[in-house]
Symmetry: C2
DNA sequence: CTCGTTCTTCTACAGAGCGTAGAACAAACC
DNA sequence: GGTTTGTTCTACGCTCTGTAGAAGAACGAG
């Protein structure tokens, strides 16, 4: 699967969280008023982003298959192709698939999840047939 | 966590599979006689790699914390810091951690593993307390 | 101790990916 | 039709990675 850059990921997060079709400018607006994942001391809000930058990023995301675009209306509208949960699950499979010792990796993985999540996993597996 | 390039990953795979300390040249030798993950039609074996290339890659892997190096003997010897299983499990956590909807992602994940692996997971979770 | 060999470090470059955005072009609105 | 709004084309700089030569350091032979 194609990987995502920082801005690309931020854009996808906005699309994933507001499960809707959005224009480039709407996306930009929601993006700038976001924590921006900086966590550094001092200002942490994202710099203003040019409209063309948004459009470039969205075009690339379209090429990569992460978004679809409605071209029939004038501000083109963008929508995430998959849910973030699906995307995450796919990534987990990808990471795991690269490893010949899948079992051992799975063992380490379940050995290091929180008890709460272990319980969640048990339930999920129980209801699976 | 730092990411790995193709060659870096190939080197790590050799180190992981032969759980031992190896010199740059020994690594190179094992590398060239490997399938090289190409799967394309025609020749798929890896091109010869210069010794200095190996050393550069290994230095970078050391900086990234993936290998340690014994500097006391003359051909320096390199060893993987973590097992591949640990590395894979860490990556899975990283992928998952990026997602606020962890539960949903886990659900998709366990929903798409093979029945055999589902069984494996059940056992692992059962023996976990 | 000196010389050649072996090994390592330093430096460098090219290609790809990504953030960035201006310039130019197209559409829509008044 | 001209202004405003939106899109595409083109492009540049930065970082990462694969690549490796040139230069320096250590080591064994004699």
């Amino acid at each position: 699967m194609a990987t995502l850059g920082d801005l690309e990921r931020a854009v996808m997060n906005v699309l994933w969280e507001s499960d809707a079709e959005l224009s480039a400018n709407a996306l930009r607006d929601r993006l700038v008023e976001l924590p921006a994942d900086d966590s550094g001391p001092g200002g942490s809000d994202r710099r203003e982003i040019a409209t063309t930058t948004m459009l470039t990023v969205l075009s690339r995301l379209e090429s990569k298959g992460f978004v679809t675009r409605s071209r029939d209306r004038r501000p083109h509208l963008y929508r995430a192709v998959t849910s973030r949960a699906d995307h995450t699950a796919e990534l987990m499979h990808e990471v795991l698939g690269a490893s010949p010792d899948r079992e051992a990796a799975l063992a380490r993985f379940v050995g290091s999840v929180s008890p709460t999540e272990a319980e969640t996993l048990r339930k999920l597996l129980a209801s699976r047939g």
